[in-house]
Protein backbone atom coordinates (compact mmCIF):
# COMPACT_ATOMS: atom_id res chain seq x y z
CA UNK A 1 0.00 0.00 0.00
CA UNK A 2 2.87 2.37 0.83
CA UNK A 3 4.53 1.73 -2.51
CA UNK A 4 1.23 2.22 -4.30
CA UNK A 5 0.69 5.54 -2.49
CA UNK A 6 4.13 6.81 -3.45
CA UNK A 7 3.66 5.69 -7.04
CA UNK A 8 0.24 7.29 -7.31
CA UNK A 9 1.43 10.63 -5.97
CA UNK A 10 4.50 10.52 -8.20
CA UNK A 11 2.17 10.06 -11.15
CA UNK A 12 0.00 12.95 -9.97
CA UNK A 13 3.09 15.15 -9.69
CA UNK A 14 4.28 14.13 -13.15
CA UNK A 15 0.86 14.89 -14.64
CA UNK A 16 0.84 18.31 -13.02
CA UNK A 17 4.31 19.12 -14.34
CA UNK A 18 3.36 18.12 -17.88
CA UNK A 19 0.06 20.02 -17.63
CA UNK A 20 1.66 23.21 -16.31
CA UNK A 21 4.39 23.10 -18.95
CA UNK A 22 1.84 22.52 -21.71
CA UNK A 23 -0.25 25.43 -20.50
CA UNK A 24 2.78 27.68 -20.20
CA UNK A 25 3.89 26.90 -23.75
CA UNK A 26 0.33 27.38 -24.99
CA UNK A 27 0.19 30.92 -23.61
CA UNK A 28 3.51 31.75 -25.22
CA UNK A 29 2.47 30.19 -28.53
CA UNK A 30 -0.46 32.57 -28.91
CA UNK A 31 0.12 34.98 -31.78
CA UNK A 32 0.72 38.55 -30.69
CA UNK A 33 2.77 40.04 -27.94
CA UNK A 34 1.38 39.04 -24.53
CA UNK A 35 2.13 42.41 -22.99
CA UNK A 36 -0.01 44.37 -25.43
CA UNK A 37 -2.78 41.79 -25.12
CA UNK A 38 -2.69 42.06 -21.34
CA UNK A 39 -2.44 45.78 -21.02
CA UNK A 40 -4.63 46.67 -23.97
CA UNK A 41 -3.97 49.24 -26.71
CA UNK A 42 -3.68 52.26 -24.40
CA UNK A 43 -0.69 51.03 -22.40
CA UNK A 44 2.26 53.38 -22.04
CA UNK A 45 5.75 52.15 -23.05
CA UNK A 46 6.90 52.45 -19.41
CA UNK A 47 4.07 50.19 -18.22
CA UNK A 48 4.93 47.68 -20.94
CA UNK A 49 8.60 47.67 -20.01
CA UNK A 50 7.88 47.12 -16.34
CA UNK A 51 5.54 44.21 -17.11
CA UNK A 52 8.12 42.66 -19.45
CA UNK A 53 10.70 42.82 -16.69
CA UNK A 54 8.23 41.54 -14.11
CA UNK A 55 7.21 38.53 -16.21
CA UNK A 56 10.76 37.94 -17.45
CA UNK A 57 9.51 38.06 -21.04
CA UNK A 58 12.89 39.30 -22.30
CA UNK A 59 14.56 36.02 -21.30
CA UNK A 60 14.76 32.86 -23.48
CA UNK A 61 11.75 30.57 -23.21
CA UNK A 62 13.40 27.82 -21.12
CA UNK A 63 14.54 30.40 -18.61
CA UNK A 64 11.03 31.84 -18.46
CA UNK A 65 9.72 28.34 -17.73
CA UNK A 66 12.26 27.87 -14.93
CA UNK A 67 11.38 31.25 -13.44
CA UNK A 68 7.70 30.34 -13.65
CA UNK A 69 8.30 27.03 -11.86
CA UNK A 70 10.43 28.81 -9.26
CA UNK A 71 7.48 31.10 -8.59
CA UNK A 72 5.07 28.17 -8.39
CA UNK A 73 7.22 26.41 -5.81
CA UNK A 74 7.19 29.54 -3.69
CA UNK A 75 3.40 29.69 -4.06
CA UNK A 76 3.57 32.63 -6.43
CA UNK A 77 1.12 32.55 -9.34
CA UNK A 78 1.83 36.07 -10.49
CA UNK A 79 0.22 39.44 -9.97
CA UNK A 80 -3.24 40.66 -10.92
CA UNK A 81 -2.72 43.10 -13.80
CA UNK A 82 -5.28 45.59 -12.49
CA UNK A 83 -5.23 45.56 -8.71
CA UNK A 84 -1.63 44.47 -8.26
CA UNK A 85 -2.67 41.88 -5.66
CA UNK A 86 -1.18 38.42 -5.71
CA UNK A 87 -3.15 35.92 -7.78
CA UNK A 88 -2.83 33.21 -5.10
CA UNK A 89 -4.54 35.47 -2.59
CA UNK A 90 -7.39 36.27 -4.99
CA UNK A 91 -7.97 32.64 -5.97
CA UNK A 92 -7.92 31.30 -2.42
CA UNK A 93 -10.31 34.03 -1.33
CA UNK A 94 -12.88 32.75 -3.84
CA UNK A 95 -12.20 29.02 -3.53
CA UNK A 96 -14.17 28.37 -0.29
CA UNK A 97 -17.42 29.55 -1.93
CA UNK A 98 -16.97 27.04 -4.73
CA UNK A 99 -15.93 24.22 -2.43
CA UNK A 100 -18.88 24.65 -0.05
CA UNK A 101 -21.25 24.54 -3.01
CA UNK A 102 -19.62 21.43 -4.49
CA UNK A 103 -19.49 19.63 -1.15
CA UNK A 104 -23.17 20.19 -0.43
CA UNK A 105 -24.08 19.06 -3.97
CA UNK A 106 -22.10 15.84 -3.61
CA UNK A 107 -23.49 15.09 -0.16
CA UNK A 108 -27.17 15.31 -1.01
CA UNK A 109 -26.88 13.65 -4.40
CA UNK A 110 -24.75 10.76 -3.11
CA UNK A 111 -27.13 10.09 -0.22
CA UNK A 112 -30.21 10.07 -2.45
CA UNK A 113 -28.45 8.24 -5.30
CA UNK A 114 -27.16 5.42 -3.10
CA UNK A 115 -30.57 4.93 -1.51
CA UNK A 116 -32.32 4.87 -4.90
CA UNK A 117 -29.76 2.53 -6.44
CA UNK A 118 -29.73 0.10 -3.53
CA UNK A 119 -33.51 -0.02 -3.46
CA UNK A 120 -33.71 -0.62 -7.21
CA UNK A 121 -31.12 -3.42 -7.04
CA UNK A 122 -32.94 -5.10 -4.17
CA UNK A 123 -36.13 -5.16 -6.21
CA UNK A 124 -34.89 -5.76 -9.75
CA UNK A 125 -37.32 -5.62 -12.66
CA UNK A 126 -40.23 -4.43 -10.55
CA UNK A 127 -42.25 -1.34 -11.38
CA UNK A 128 -40.29 0.71 -8.86
CA UNK A 129 -36.99 -0.37 -10.41
CA UNK A 130 -38.23 0.72 -13.84
CA UNK A 131 -39.43 4.08 -12.54
CA UNK A 132 -36.14 4.61 -10.70
CA UNK A 133 -34.24 3.78 -13.88
CA UNK A 134 -36.29 6.19 -15.98
CA UNK A 135 -35.94 8.94 -13.36
CA UNK A 136 -32.19 8.37 -13.10
CA UNK A 137 -31.69 8.61 -16.85
CA UNK A 138 -33.78 11.76 -17.03
CA UNK A 139 -31.76 13.31 -14.21
CA UNK A 140 -28.50 12.41 -15.90
CA UNK A 141 -29.87 14.05 -19.02
CA UNK A 142 -30.03 17.47 -17.46
CA UNK A 143 -26.81 19.49 -17.75
CA UNK A 144 -26.16 21.50 -14.60
CA UNK A 145 -26.37 24.92 -16.17
CA UNK A 146 -29.69 24.20 -17.86
CA UNK A 147 -31.08 22.94 -14.55
CA UNK A 148 -29.63 26.02 -12.87
CA UNK A 149 -31.35 28.34 -15.34
CA UNK A 150 -34.69 26.54 -15.11
CA UNK A 151 -34.45 26.42 -11.29
CA UNK A 152 -33.64 30.12 -11.26
CA UNK A 153 -36.62 30.83 -13.49
CA UNK A 154 -39.08 28.67 -11.55
CA UNK A 155 -38.03 28.89 -7.90
CA UNK A 156 -36.33 32.28 -7.72
CA UNK A 157 -38.00 34.47 -10.35
CA UNK A 158 -41.53 33.07 -10.56
CA UNK A 159 -42.19 31.53 -7.12
CA UNK A 160 -39.57 33.60 -5.28
CA UNK A 161 -38.95 30.82 -2.75
CA UNK A 162 -35.19 31.19 -2.85
CA UNK A 163 -32.82 34.09 -3.49
CA UNK A 164 -31.56 34.51 -7.05
CA UNK A 165 -28.29 36.32 -6.47
CA UNK A 166 -25.20 36.15 -4.27
CA UNK A 167 -23.89 33.95 -1.47
CA UNK A 168 -25.75 35.30 1.58
CA UNK A 169 -24.69 36.30 5.08
CA UNK A 170 -24.60 34.20 8.26
CA UNK A 171 -25.12 30.44 8.42
CA UNK A 172 -28.80 30.30 7.45
CA UNK A 173 -28.44 32.98 4.83
CA UNK A 174 -25.57 31.12 3.20
CA UNK A 175 -27.43 27.84 3.35
CA UNK A 176 -30.50 29.46 1.81
CA UNK A 177 -28.38 30.77 -1.04
CA UNK A 178 -26.84 27.32 -1.53
CA UNK A 179 -30.11 25.45 -2.04
CA UNK A 180 -30.72 26.17 -5.72
CA UNK A 181 -27.07 26.03 -6.87
CA UNK A 182 -26.38 22.70 -5.17
CA UNK A 183 -29.70 21.36 -6.42
CA UNK A 184 -28.63 22.24 -9.97
CA UNK A 185 -25.17 20.69 -9.65
CA UNK A 186 -26.29 17.60 -7.76
CA UNK A 187 -29.33 16.62 -9.82
CA UNK A 188 -27.50 14.82 -12.61
CA UNK A 189 -25.35 13.05 -10.01
CA UNK A 190 -28.37 11.51 -8.30
CA UNK A 191 -29.24 9.54 -11.40
CA UNK A 192 -25.64 8.73 -12.19
CA UNK A 193 -24.86 7.42 -8.70
CA UNK A 194 -28.15 5.53 -8.51
CA UNK A 195 -27.36 3.67 -11.72
CA UNK A 196 -23.83 2.97 -10.61
CA UNK A 197 -24.89 1.62 -7.23
CA UNK A 198 -27.65 -0.47 -8.80
CA UNK A 199 -25.24 -2.08 -11.28
CA UNK A 200 -22.49 -2.77 -8.76
CA UNK A 201 -25.05 -3.97 -6.22
CA UNK A 202 -26.48 -6.49 -8.69
CA UNK A 203 -22.97 -7.69 -9.36
CA UNK A 204 -22.18 -8.04 -5.65
CA UNK A 205 -25.45 -9.84 -4.99
CA UNK A 206 -24.39 -12.51 -7.48
CA UNK A 207 -21.12 -13.23 -5.67
CA UNK A 208 -20.27 -16.26 -3.59
CA UNK A 209 -20.26 -14.76 -0.12
CA UNK A 210 -23.75 -13.33 -0.62
CA UNK A 211 -24.98 -16.74 -1.76
CA UNK A 212 -23.46 -18.19 1.38
CA UNK A 213 -25.18 -15.58 3.52
CA UNK A 214 -28.47 -16.42 1.79
CA UNK A 215 -27.86 -20.13 2.40
CA UNK A 216 -27.42 -19.35 6.08
CA UNK A 217 -30.88 -17.88 6.01
CA UNK A 218 -30.05 -14.22 6.66
CA UNK A 219 -32.84 -11.85 5.79
CA UNK A 220 -32.58 -10.03 2.47
CA UNK A 221 -32.62 -6.70 4.28
CA UNK A 222 -29.68 -7.72 6.47
CA UNK A 223 -27.70 -9.04 3.49
CA UNK A 224 -28.12 -5.80 1.58
CA UNK A 225 -27.53 -3.44 4.49
CA UNK A 226 -24.56 -5.09 6.13
CA UNK A 227 -22.86 -7.10 3.38
CA UNK A 228 -23.68 -5.96 -0.13
CA UNK A 229 -23.99 -2.19 0.23
CA UNK A 230 -20.53 -1.79 1.74
CA UNK A 231 -18.92 -3.18 -1.37
CA UNK A 232 -21.44 -1.77 -3.80
CA UNK A 233 -20.75 1.86 -2.88
CA UNK A 234 -17.02 1.56 -3.64
CA UNK A 235 -17.37 2.80 -7.23
CA UNK A 236 -19.13 5.91 -5.92
CA UNK A 237 -15.94 6.99 -4.14
CA UNK A 238 -13.93 6.72 -7.35
CA UNK A 239 -16.58 8.38 -9.43
CA UNK A 240 -16.85 11.39 -7.15
CA UNK A 241 -13.07 11.77 -7.10
CA UNK A 242 -12.80 11.50 -10.85
CA UNK A 243 -15.91 13.65 -11.20
CA UNK A 244 -14.22 16.57 -9.45
CA UNK A 245 -13.34 18.07 -12.82
CA UNK A 246 -16.93 17.72 -13.88
CA UNK A 247 -18.12 19.29 -10.63
CA UNK A 248 -15.76 22.23 -11.07
CA UNK A 249 -17.06 22.67 -14.61
CA UNK A 250 -20.67 22.71 -13.42
CA UNK A 251 -19.66 25.14 -10.69
CA UNK A 252 -18.46 27.67 -13.28
CA UNK A 253 -21.88 27.84 -14.91
CA UNK A 254 -23.85 27.68 -11.71
CA UNK A 255 -21.89 30.56 -10.21
CA UNK A 256 -22.57 32.67 -13.27
CA UNK A 257 -26.29 31.85 -13.30
CA UNK A 258 -26.75 32.66 -9.62
CA UNK A 259 -24.18 35.47 -9.61
CA UNK A 260 -22.37 33.70 -6.76
CA UNK A 261 -18.78 34.45 -5.85
CA UNK A 262 -16.35 31.58 -6.50
CA UNK A 263 -13.55 30.54 -8.82
CA UNK A 264 -15.93 30.06 -11.73
CA UNK A 265 -17.14 33.62 -11.59
CA UNK A 266 -13.58 34.74 -11.00
CA UNK A 267 -12.31 33.04 -14.16
CA UNK A 268 -15.14 34.39 -16.34
CA UNK A 269 -14.74 37.92 -14.98
CA UNK A 270 -11.00 37.72 -15.62
CA UNK A 271 -11.55 36.50 -19.17
CA UNK A 272 -13.86 39.40 -19.99
CA UNK A 273 -11.33 41.87 -18.57
CA UNK A 274 -8.41 40.02 -20.21
CA UNK A 275 -6.73 39.54 -16.88
CA UNK A 276 -4.57 36.62 -18.01
CA UNK A 277 -2.53 35.97 -14.84
CA UNK A 278 -5.77 35.48 -12.90
CA UNK A 279 -7.26 33.24 -15.62
CA UNK A 280 -4.17 31.04 -15.67
CA UNK A 281 -3.85 30.99 -11.89
CA UNK A 282 -7.44 29.86 -11.49
CA UNK A 283 -7.15 27.19 -14.17
CA UNK A 284 -3.96 25.97 -12.53
CA UNK A 285 -5.45 25.78 -9.04
CA UNK A 286 -8.54 23.95 -10.28
CA UNK A 287 -6.38 21.55 -12.29
CA UNK A 288 -4.29 20.87 -9.19
CA UNK A 289 -7.44 20.28 -7.20
CA UNK A 290 -8.72 17.85 -9.81
CA UNK A 291 -5.45 15.89 -10.04
CA UNK A 292 -5.27 15.68 -6.25
CA UNK A 293 -8.85 14.49 -5.85
CA UNK A 294 -8.39 11.83 -8.54
CA UNK A 295 -5.30 10.55 -6.73
CA UNK A 296 -7.10 10.50 -3.38
CA UNK A 297 -10.04 8.66 -4.90
CA UNK A 298 -7.68 6.03 -6.34
CA UNK A 299 -5.97 5.65 -2.98
CA UNK A 300 -9.26 5.32 -1.10
CA UNK A 301 -10.36 2.75 -3.61
CA UNK A 302 -7.15 0.80 -3.14
CA UNK A 303 -7.52 0.99 0.61
CA UNK A 304 -11.08 -0.30 0.54
CA UNK A 305 -10.62 -2.84 -2.23
CA UNK A 306 -7.22 -4.59 -2.25
CA UNK A 307 -7.85 -5.97 -5.74
CA UNK A 308 -7.48 -2.46 -7.21
CA UNK A 309 -3.88 -2.25 -5.97
CA UNK A 310 -2.57 -5.05 -8.14
CA UNK A 311 -4.77 -4.16 -11.09
CA UNK A 312 -2.88 -0.96 -11.71
Amino acid sequence: MFIYTVKRFALAGLILIVAVTAMFLMIRAVPGDPVSIMLGPRATPELKASLIAQMALDQPIWKQLLIYYGGLLRGDLGIDVFSGRSVVEIVFQQLPYTLEMITLSVLWSAALGIALGAYAAAHPNTMIDRIAAAVSVSFVAAPAFVVALLALLIFAVQLQWFPAIGAGEGFWGRLNHLVLPSFAIGLSWVGYIARLVRASMLEVLGEGHIRTARAFGLSERRIIMSYALRIAILPVVTVIGVGMGFLLSSAVFTEIVFARPGIGKLVIDSITTRNYPVVMGTVLVSTGLFVLSTAIADLLNALLDPRARSAK
Binding site: L11, A141, F145, L152, S249, V279, V283, S286
Partner: protein, 285 residues
Protein backbone atom coordinates in the same frame (compact mmCIF):
# COMPACT_ATOMS: atom_id res chain seq x y z
CA UNK B 1 -18.79 -9.15 -38.65
CA UNK B 2 -18.39 -10.61 -42.12
CA UNK B 3 -21.56 -8.96 -43.40
CA UNK B 4 -21.61 -5.43 -41.98
CA UNK B 5 -24.96 -4.49 -43.51
CA UNK B 6 -26.92 -7.31 -41.92
CA UNK B 7 -25.09 -6.60 -38.68
CA UNK B 8 -26.27 -2.99 -38.77
CA UNK B 9 -29.87 -3.96 -39.43
CA UNK B 10 -29.72 -6.46 -36.55
CA UNK B 11 -28.46 -3.71 -34.27
CA UNK B 12 -31.11 -1.23 -35.40
CA UNK B 13 -33.86 -3.80 -35.03
CA UNK B 14 -32.58 -4.61 -31.54
CA UNK B 15 -32.61 -0.95 -30.58
CA UNK B 16 -36.11 -0.40 -31.96
CA UNK B 17 -37.43 -3.36 -29.96
CA UNK B 18 -36.39 -1.73 -26.68
CA UNK B 19 -38.93 0.98 -25.75
CA UNK B 20 -36.29 3.39 -24.44
CA UNK B 21 -34.15 2.72 -27.51
CA UNK B 22 -37.10 3.50 -29.75
CA UNK B 23 -37.75 6.79 -27.94
CA UNK B 24 -34.05 7.63 -28.28
CA UNK B 25 -34.11 6.78 -31.97
CA UNK B 26 -37.17 8.99 -32.54
CA UNK B 27 -35.73 11.98 -30.63
CA UNK B 28 -32.33 11.73 -32.30
CA UNK B 29 -33.98 11.21 -35.68
CA UNK B 30 -36.16 14.29 -35.21
CA UNK B 31 -33.21 16.44 -34.21
CA UNK B 32 -31.06 15.24 -37.10
CA UNK B 33 -33.82 15.64 -39.71
CA UNK B 34 -34.86 19.08 -38.46
CA UNK B 35 -31.21 20.15 -38.40
CA UNK B 36 -30.64 18.99 -41.98
CA UNK B 37 -33.78 20.68 -43.32
CA UNK B 38 -33.65 23.61 -40.89
CA UNK B 39 -33.40 26.21 -43.63
CA UNK B 40 -36.68 25.01 -45.18
CA UNK B 41 -38.80 24.34 -42.12
CA UNK B 42 -38.16 27.45 -40.02
CA UNK B 43 -41.35 29.57 -39.96
CA UNK B 44 -39.40 32.86 -39.80
CA UNK B 45 -35.90 34.08 -40.55
CA UNK B 46 -33.93 33.00 -37.44
CA UNK B 47 -31.69 36.07 -37.53
CA UNK B 48 -34.15 38.56 -39.02
CA UNK B 49 -35.06 41.35 -36.61
CA UNK B 50 -38.64 42.53 -36.32
CA UNK B 51 -38.71 45.23 -33.68
CA UNK B 52 -42.52 45.82 -33.59
CA UNK B 53 -42.99 42.17 -32.57
CA UNK B 54 -40.33 42.18 -29.84
CA UNK B 55 -40.65 40.34 -26.52
CA UNK B 56 -43.93 38.66 -27.39
CA UNK B 57 -45.04 35.67 -25.35
CA UNK B 58 -45.92 32.35 -26.97
CA UNK B 59 -48.84 32.67 -29.39
CA UNK B 60 -50.22 31.00 -32.52
CA UNK B 61 -48.01 33.05 -34.81
CA UNK B 62 -44.91 32.65 -32.60
CA UNK B 63 -45.19 29.28 -30.79
CA UNK B 64 -42.24 30.01 -28.51
CA UNK B 65 -42.52 33.78 -28.48
CA UNK B 66 -39.97 36.32 -29.69
CA UNK B 67 -36.83 37.82 -28.16
CA UNK B 68 -35.90 41.43 -27.49
CA UNK B 69 -35.08 41.95 -31.17
CA UNK B 70 -38.34 40.40 -32.34
CA UNK B 71 -36.69 37.24 -33.64
CA UNK B 72 -38.87 34.11 -33.61
CA UNK B 73 -37.69 31.72 -30.87
CA UNK B 74 -38.89 28.52 -32.55
CA UNK B 75 -36.95 29.34 -35.71
CA UNK B 76 -33.87 29.98 -33.62
CA UNK B 77 -34.34 26.71 -31.73
CA UNK B 78 -34.56 24.74 -34.99
CA UNK B 79 -31.56 26.51 -36.47
CA UNK B 80 -29.71 26.04 -33.18
CA UNK B 81 -30.00 22.28 -33.61
CA UNK B 82 -27.93 22.58 -36.75
CA UNK B 83 -25.22 24.50 -34.91
CA UNK B 84 -25.24 21.94 -32.08
CA UNK B 85 -24.72 19.03 -34.47
CA UNK B 86 -22.13 20.95 -36.48
CA UNK B 87 -20.04 21.14 -33.32
CA UNK B 88 -20.90 17.76 -31.82
CA UNK B 89 -20.43 15.43 -34.78
CA UNK B 90 -16.96 16.51 -35.96
CA UNK B 91 -15.76 16.74 -32.37
CA UNK B 92 -17.02 13.30 -31.40
CA UNK B 93 -15.84 11.55 -34.56
CA UNK B 94 -12.49 13.31 -34.49
CA UNK B 95 -11.90 12.41 -30.86
CA UNK B 96 -13.01 8.84 -31.50
CA UNK B 97 -10.68 8.40 -34.48
CA UNK B 98 -7.65 9.84 -32.69
CA UNK B 99 -8.42 8.13 -29.39
CA UNK B 100 -8.99 4.79 -31.12
CA UNK B 101 -5.69 4.94 -33.01
CA UNK B 102 -3.63 6.05 -30.03
CA UNK B 103 -5.39 3.63 -27.68
CA UNK B 104 -4.79 0.62 -29.91
CA UNK B 105 -1.14 1.57 -30.32
CA UNK B 106 -0.82 1.95 -26.55
CA UNK B 107 -2.40 -1.42 -25.95
CA UNK B 108 -0.48 -3.29 -28.62
CA UNK B 109 2.84 -1.45 -28.86
CA UNK B 110 5.90 -1.61 -26.61
CA UNK B 111 5.59 -0.87 -22.89
CA UNK B 112 7.41 2.49 -22.99
CA UNK B 113 5.07 3.79 -25.69
CA UNK B 114 2.11 2.61 -23.63
CA UNK B 115 3.41 4.51 -20.60
CA UNK B 116 4.03 7.63 -22.66
CA UNK B 117 0.57 7.58 -24.23
CA UNK B 118 -1.07 6.92 -20.88
CA UNK B 119 0.72 9.94 -19.43
CA UNK B 120 -0.52 11.96 -22.41
CA UNK B 121 -4.10 10.79 -21.78
CA UNK B 122 -3.86 11.44 -18.04
CA UNK B 123 -2.53 14.93 -18.64
CA UNK B 124 -5.26 15.85 -21.13
CA UNK B 125 -7.80 14.49 -18.69
CA UNK B 126 -6.34 16.41 -15.77
CA UNK B 127 -7.76 19.75 -16.89
CA UNK B 128 -11.34 20.27 -15.77
CA UNK B 129 -13.07 20.42 -19.18
CA UNK B 130 -14.73 23.79 -18.87
CA UNK B 131 -11.69 25.40 -17.25
CA UNK B 132 -9.53 24.11 -20.10
CA UNK B 133 -12.06 25.34 -22.65
CA UNK B 134 -12.17 28.75 -20.99
CA UNK B 135 -8.40 29.04 -20.95
CA UNK B 136 -8.17 28.19 -24.65
CA UNK B 137 -11.02 30.48 -25.62
CA UNK B 138 -9.48 33.28 -23.58
CA UNK B 139 -6.25 32.86 -25.50
CA UNK B 140 -7.34 32.28 -29.09
CA UNK B 141 -10.77 33.90 -29.05
CA UNK B 142 -14.23 32.36 -29.37
CA UNK B 143 -15.34 30.58 -32.55
CA UNK B 144 -17.06 27.40 -33.69
CA UNK B 145 -13.71 25.81 -34.58
CA UNK B 146 -12.22 26.57 -31.18
CA UNK B 147 -15.14 24.86 -29.49
CA UNK B 148 -14.78 21.79 -31.73
CA UNK B 149 -11.04 21.56 -31.07
CA UNK B 150 -11.34 21.98 -27.32
CA UNK B 151 -14.08 19.40 -27.05
CA UNK B 152 -12.10 17.00 -29.20
CA UNK B 153 -8.96 17.39 -27.13
CA UNK B 154 -10.76 16.79 -23.86
CA UNK B 155 -12.56 13.65 -24.98
CA UNK B 156 -9.64 11.91 -26.69
CA UNK B 157 -8.48 10.27 -23.41
CA UNK B 158 -11.83 8.56 -22.80
CA UNK B 159 -11.76 6.82 -26.18
CA UNK B 160 -8.05 6.17 -25.91
CA UNK B 161 -8.31 4.44 -22.55
CA UNK B 162 -11.22 2.25 -23.56
CA UNK B 163 -9.56 1.28 -26.85
CA UNK B 164 -6.37 0.46 -24.94
CA UNK B 165 -8.14 -1.77 -22.42
CA UNK B 166 -9.98 -3.59 -25.19
CA UNK B 167 -6.76 -4.09 -27.14
CA UNK B 168 -4.97 -5.38 -24.05
CA UNK B 169 -7.63 -8.02 -23.43
CA UNK B 170 -7.62 -9.05 -27.09
CA UNK B 171 -3.90 -9.06 -27.72
CA UNK B 172 -3.30 -12.51 -26.25
CA UNK B 173 -6.41 -14.15 -27.65
CA UNK B 174 -5.88 -17.11 -29.94
CA UNK B 175 -6.90 -15.56 -33.22
CA UNK B 176 -4.49 -12.67 -32.74
CA UNK B 177 -1.65 -15.01 -31.73
CA UNK B 178 -2.39 -17.07 -34.83
CA UNK B 179 -2.19 -13.96 -37.02
CA UNK B 180 1.11 -13.02 -35.44
CA UNK B 181 2.49 -16.51 -35.95
CA UNK B 182 1.60 -16.20 -39.62
CA UNK B 183 3.61 -12.99 -39.74
CA UNK B 184 0.85 -10.39 -40.08
CA UNK B 185 2.07 -6.82 -39.67
CA UNK B 186 1.05 -4.66 -36.73
CA UNK B 187 -1.02 -2.40 -38.96
CA UNK B 188 -2.89 -5.40 -40.36
CA UNK B 189 -3.55 -6.94 -36.96
CA UNK B 190 -4.81 -3.68 -35.52
CA UNK B 191 -6.75 -2.48 -38.53
CA UNK B 192 -8.28 -5.71 -39.81
CA UNK B 193 -8.57 -7.94 -36.76
CA UNK B 194 -8.71 -5.75 -33.66
CA UNK B 195 -10.72 -2.80 -35.00
CA UNK B 196 -13.99 -4.65 -35.73
CA UNK B 197 -13.94 -5.99 -32.17
CA UNK B 198 -13.37 -2.59 -30.58
CA UNK B 199 -15.39 -0.23 -32.73
CA UNK B 200 -18.76 -1.30 -31.30
CA UNK B 201 -17.87 -0.33 -27.73
CA UNK B 202 -16.46 2.98 -28.90
CA UNK B 203 -19.57 3.65 -30.98
CA UNK B 204 -21.68 3.29 -27.87
CA UNK B 205 -19.34 5.65 -26.04
CA UNK B 206 -19.60 8.14 -28.91
CA UNK B 207 -23.41 8.11 -28.82
CA UNK B 208 -23.30 8.85 -25.10
CA UNK B 209 -20.67 11.54 -25.65
CA UNK B 210 -22.71 13.61 -28.12
CA UNK B 211 -24.93 15.18 -25.43
CA UNK B 212 -21.89 16.14 -23.32
CA UNK B 213 -20.49 17.96 -26.31
CA UNK B 214 -23.81 19.64 -27.11
CA UNK B 215 -24.07 20.80 -23.51
CA UNK B 216 -20.52 22.14 -23.56
CA UNK B 217 -21.11 24.08 -26.76
CA UNK B 218 -24.34 25.47 -25.33
CA UNK B 219 -22.54 26.31 -22.08
CA UNK B 220 -19.76 28.20 -23.83
CA UNK B 221 -22.26 30.05 -26.00
CA UNK B 222 -24.27 30.85 -22.88
CA UNK B 223 -21.17 32.46 -21.42
CA UNK B 224 -20.73 34.38 -24.67
CA UNK B 225 -17.57 32.42 -25.46
CA UNK B 226 -18.91 29.99 -28.06
CA UNK B 227 -20.51 30.77 -31.40
CA UNK B 228 -20.76 34.46 -32.16
CA UNK B 229 -24.05 36.35 -32.36
CA UNK B 230 -26.31 36.51 -34.29
CA UNK B 231 -25.75 32.79 -35.02
CA UNK B 232 -28.67 31.00 -33.37
CA UNK B 233 -27.48 28.43 -30.86
CA UNK B 234 -29.29 26.85 -27.92
CA UNK B 235 -26.72 28.36 -25.61
CA UNK B 236 -27.14 31.82 -27.14
CA UNK B 237 -30.91 31.52 -26.58
CA UNK B 238 -30.24 30.75 -22.94
CA UNK B 239 -27.92 33.73 -22.75
CA UNK B 240 -30.55 36.10 -24.16
CA UNK B 241 -33.20 34.54 -21.94
CA UNK B 242 -31.04 34.86 -18.85
CA UNK B 243 -30.28 38.51 -19.53
CA UNK B 244 -34.01 39.30 -19.62
CA UNK B 245 -35.30 36.48 -17.44
CA UNK B 246 -38.18 38.55 -16.07
CA UNK B 247 -39.31 39.84 -19.49
CA UNK B 248 -38.72 36.87 -21.81
CA UNK B 249 -38.60 33.68 -19.69
CA UNK B 250 -39.78 31.57 -22.68
CA UNK B 251 -36.30 31.95 -24.18
CA UNK B 252 -34.83 30.00 -21.25
CA UNK B 253 -37.38 27.24 -21.79
CA UNK B 254 -36.86 27.31 -25.57
CA UNK B 255 -33.10 27.01 -25.21
CA UNK B 256 -33.10 24.59 -22.28
CA UNK B 257 -35.61 21.97 -23.40
CA UNK B 258 -33.85 21.02 -26.68
CA UNK B 259 -30.63 20.45 -24.73
CA UNK B 260 -32.38 18.20 -22.22
CA UNK B 261 -34.26 16.38 -25.01
CA UNK B 262 -31.09 15.88 -27.06
CA UNK B 263 -29.28 14.54 -24.00
CA UNK B 264 -32.16 12.22 -23.22
CA UNK B 265 -32.37 10.97 -26.81
CA UNK B 266 -28.68 10.25 -27.26
CA UNK B 267 -28.41 8.65 -23.81
CA UNK B 268 -31.36 6.31 -24.44
CA UNK B 269 -29.95 5.44 -27.84
CA UNK B 270 -26.48 4.82 -26.44
CA UNK B 271 -27.74 2.59 -23.62
CA UNK B 272 -29.91 0.59 -25.94
CA UNK B 273 -27.02 0.26 -28.40
CA UNK B 274 -24.80 -1.00 -25.60
CA UNK B 275 -27.28 -3.68 -24.64
CA UNK B 276 -27.47 -4.84 -28.26
CA UNK B 277 -23.74 -4.60 -29.01
CA UNK B 278 -22.57 -6.17 -25.77
CA UNK B 279 -24.64 -9.31 -25.16
CA UNK B 280 -22.89 -9.94 -21.85
CA UNK B 281 -24.53 -6.86 -20.37
CA UNK B 282 -27.87 -7.73 -21.91
CA UNK B 283 -28.09 -10.88 -19.81
CA UNK B 284 -27.78 -8.85 -16.62
CA UNK B 285 -30.90 -6.84 -17.30
Amino acid sequence: MSKPRSELSIILRGVAKDPLGLIGLIIVGTIVVSAIFAAWIVPYDPIGMNIPDRMQGPSWSHWLGTDNLGRDTLSRVIMGGQVALKVALPAVFGAMAIGLTLGMIAGYGPKWLDNLLMLFFDTLRSFPTVMFALAVVALVGPSLQTVVLVVMATSIPTYGRVARTQTLTLRNSEFILAERAMGASMARILGVHMLPNIIGVLGVLAAMDVPTVIALEAGLSFLGLGVKPPTPSWGALLKDGYALIRQTPWLVVGGGLPIILATLGFTFLGESLRDVVDPKLRKNR
